[in-house]
Amino acid sequence: MNDFEGWIPMRIYWRQARPMVDWGYLGGRRFTDPFFEQTIGGCVRHPADLLFRHQTPLEFLGELAENRPSLAPTGFIFHMSRCGSTLISQMLAAVPGNIVISEASPIDAILRAHFQDTNATEELRIKWLRWLLSALGRQRWPEEKYFFIKFDCWHAVFLPLIQRAFPGVPWIFIYREPVEVLMSHARQRGAHMIPRVLDPGVFGWDDQYLEQMALDEYGVRVLGRICEAALEQARLGRGKLVNYRQLPGIVWPDLMKYWGVDCAAEAVEAMTRVSRFNAKNPVLPFEDDTQFKRRVATEEIRRIARQWLNGTCEELEARRLGPAS
């Protein structure tokens, strides 16, 4: 059996109703870019890498998972988008002992598989997700010891499934003042904020329901669903809530302790260094734009935030501060 050492599942797609994996040659690269897609972009840059790629049935991931060792997930990061989650993943990725997979499209393909493949039951998706994370969490360097996954923001709605797949893996949900998040999307709208980019069923809506919403209302209600999904879990005493305002200080030592990670002085130094830069564009220094975003927020943004999002975020914050968190 080819052990696919140095290869990474880059994409999951369906060929004649069969789920397939498109593999890329990762070689010695580490996942240090802000997003998974940026790292795998390097796996298709050279013409040889572009042309010669393994294509296997998804079941092959199961064979690999059974036969090749891999790191178990150390911690999961969920978030409402534009709220500092990339800063956390970038701080973690700065430490060579951590594998950090950030918003990987193959994970998304599995979590949303039931929208295009009616055979993709929850049980099957749980199995596929375990196989996939086993392939993503393979140790490629001897120092790699911990394995973190930052999910896409809408994956919070799949928290029950993800927790069934990986019971006991400590997860966090990070959120931020709604108006600040909405102002970030007003400047550059995230894909999930555009109707029909994601199947409305992800949020429990149908097409007809969608037609009643204006663009901005759609976006804020998507964020509302994401935060409600995290809140439902928090009410059950699950997960750890993190407010953007706690960054970056909460990462070390609080989150490291929460995730059970031994953190040497060099690791803390590497994380601190990264926290001084813009997480999504690390050539730029970090600038706190909180006051600016609040100042320029329009009355309409404030209104829809009040209507659809503030209440949920206030309860998240109350739970974080209260004894129940």
Binding site: Y13, V44, H46, P47, A48, L50, L51, F52, R53
Partner: protein, 75 residues
């Protein structure tokens, strides 16, 4: 080695791809090409040595198609 009768370009490329993916040294050799032109020249030679007889035009077209498919993967 000879081409199989009536084997189309896509089939020859697929056969060569399978050889590359099964042979780590061959794969690494192709990955060492410094740019597209030297990759094409190398792939033509190595495919010919293995009876797949890919032409420079076929390899260039395949690279362009894969690149387009990659960029259009979400469409």
């Amino acid at each position: 080695m000879m081409n199989r009768p009536m084997e189309q370009s896509g089939e020859r490329l697929e056969r060569f791809s399978q050889m590359v993916l099964a042979d780590r040294q061959l794969h690494e050799q192709l990955r060492m090409a410094a740019n597209l032109e030297s990759f094409i020249a190398l792939a033509v030679r190595l495919s010919r040595e293995r009876g797949c007889d890919l032409t420079a035009e076929e390899i260039r077209a395949a690279v362009q198609n894969r690149r387009r498919a990659w960029f259009e993967r979400w469409i």
